[in-house]
Symmetry: C2
Subunit: 205 residues, 2 copies
DNA sequence: CTAGAATTCAAACGAGCGTTTCAGCCTTGT
DNA sequence: ACAAGGCTGAAACGCTCGTTTGAATTCTAG
């Protein structure tokens, strides 16, 4: 199913990502994953140690770069003398939207991400917090600047809800085919505009 | 765990709903469900036939009344000589929000619902379509009236995304405790206002 | 070329899964 | 009081799960 010249680890990660997106973490078995990757069953435990570790690596592989891009975009926004809610939201949404429309398995990963949000999995939330809390923190600070009327408590749960709803929406966007006669970039920008408006309405009062 | 004077069927449904919300459909086993319900393992297959049927019944029990309320609310809206997007959205959101903040397991069920949306489970989507497509259809008609500039295709996938994002947001709302000094009703109305604004931004262009 | 490490492989492990069975228990109606 | 049918109980079915094992193979350095 996968080209044989990619490494075993990479093929396992690709297959796992795709199967987790379709069947969930509990629903996709290591036997399905290794069969789809054309790899021996034991390879997962050899290369990753356990299924739980494999799940974490599926996240790490994409989130490392995604969060770098988000922080870079946020840094650009913060450089401007005047910026608003929509700018901060853009720094959060656009990199993820690009991923969800990428040629490779990016769309599958965003669906995995949406699942993880919906699951409220404790173990997974800890992993995300341990590895990427600095990103959330920087965005929370920026949001607090552009939403000064919200107290910290209120801001935090609104961000939680909005980021979940956004992730869900982006997971769906990946599936939707763009209208004919519209370039990939136009379609993405239009989607970003909608999502940002969508999220802004949820954050402002 | 459950009061013994409730019927076996009801206790199974309650426990299943709660465990499906926490661990997913594949993640929660019938042994966990029956143990939490203080019921024999075989009772599930006796009363429901299979795990799949049990899942369907968990949905049916809540969705029958929820969708009735939604349709009743929509009928009220349609009676008015002039109504807008926010009115239609209100008919969709308010009954679900009431459920997610109900005393009984309603909050758990909305989390189950959010999971089901995120999973894109084919079997489940078929069940929902078979049993409740008339509700979606009536709402789609009403939405088409207040959003005449969107063609049918565009409207349908936007409704899909918005309803998913709304369900996700409502699942989270159920967990959030209201600010002190605010009545249950006030809190719910405020949440409904936010969600409706949120969704309206995603539907309008 | 060859020793040693890294990787792959087939096979098996115990545990947990959904489901089935059937004996026994209640609860009805007569 | 008693038969019948609805329901519960303990046990077992075959199957799939994640993981482990140890031998076979491939890769890599000296």
């Amino acid at each position: 199913m996968n080209a044989p010249h990619f490494s075993t680890k990479q093929r396992i990660l690709d297959s796992a990502e795709s199967l987790f997106a379709r069947h969930g973490f509990a629903g996709a078995s290591l036997r399905q994953v290794t069969a789809s990757a054309n790899v021996n069953l034991a390879a997962v435990n050899y290369h990753f140690g356990s299924k739980e570790n494999l799940i974490n690596e599926v996240f790490r592989r994409r989130l490392d770069s995604l969060n770098e891009e988000r922080l870079a975009a946020l840094a650009e926004v913060l450089k401007q003398p005047r910026f608003g809610l929509e700018d901060v939201l853009g720094a959060f949404v656009r990199p993820a939207l690009a991923l969800s429309m990428a040629e490779d398995g990016g769309a599958g990963f965003v669906r995995v991400l949406a699942r993880a949000f919906a699951e409220h999995n404790e173990r997974l939330r800890k992993f995300l917090h341990d590895n990427y809390s600095h990103v959330l923190k920087q965005f929370a600070t920026a949001f607090a600047q552009v939403l000064p009327h919200l107290d910290k408590q209120e801001l935090y749960w609104r961000l939680d809800i909005v980021s979940g709803a956004l992730t869900y929406a982006m997971a769906d966007f990946g599936v939707i085919k763009r209208r004919p006669g519209m370039s990939e970039l136009q379609h993405r920008d239009l989607a970003a505009e909608h999502l940002i408006k969508f999220a802004a309405a949820g954050l402002r009062t």
